[in-house]
Symmetry: C2
Subunit: 145 residues, 2 copies
């Protein structure tokens, strides 16, 4: 099955990068300010909002390890996303942190998947910007494309 | 074999997007200003430079169709790139142009491939910026990550 995989290096300590990915407060500063609602502990669900009354995606948190692993499974939302898994694998790289992001389990290499691939790269650069400058570009302040 | 696939929508006529991808003059404004050297006709080769005396990649032009297709095959350069194929498929979307980019034929889903995936998304957004604002972010003015 086709996967989206991106690697981005961020000039920030691993602990800070982890905090921005593992908590709803962090996520709202780089992915969506419209709402990352729920409990971000393992086994709980987080609802992600992008301007609609219904969440665009609901993720079950499947892994949280402050050494550098965050895992989600999409349990509701955009049809092509349901059943896919998302992981953020962080590694120390001197004073920097490398983020290896994988969105796996797509049923087909659709145009929507290609759209999401470019969108994920954009939001990972938003995460980088947040950690390096204090300011990300989460929805609704994101570039539309 | 794993592929990189991105889709980006650009507010510009297809003809302009095609010109920016199909010509070395265009490419130098969004991918690398350090040098896209060679003849961009089918069967010819283009050398792409990124700050080194040797080209980082040499592409044979395999397809050029002003209806919206540009194809390259990597014939020399970074080891993992050699033998891979790159295509830009353009479609009209009202006043906009959708770019479906594919970098196919990778031997394995390596961390370098994940790095290149994020880099390609960044440079496709540079292409978008070039066409919408007149200014891209080609090497060496690109964000490093």
């Amino acid at each position: 099955m086709p996967d989206i995989r991106h690697r981005v290096v961020i000039s920030a300590p691993l602990e800070n990068v982890y905090e921005a990915i593992a908590t709803t407060e962090g996520i709202s500063e780089w992915w969506t300010r419209d709402g990352a609602r729920g409990d971000s502990s393992v086994g709980s669900k987080i609802e992600f909002y992008f301007g609609s009354p219904e969440p665009a995606a609901v993720m079950e948190v499947t892994e949280l390890n402050s050494e550098g692993e965050v895992g989600w499974k999409c349990v509701a939302g955009a049809g092509e996303w349901v059943g896919t898994t998302l992981t953020f694998h962080l590694t120390r790289n001197g004073d920097e942190t490398a983020v290896l992001f994988t969105h796996a389990g797509w049923r087909e290499a659709s145009e929507f998947m290609a759209h999401c691939s470019a969108r994920w790269a954009y939001f990972l650069l938003s995460l980088k910007s947040l950690l390096e400058t204090g300011k990300g570009t989460p929805f609704p302040n994101d570039l539309k494309f």
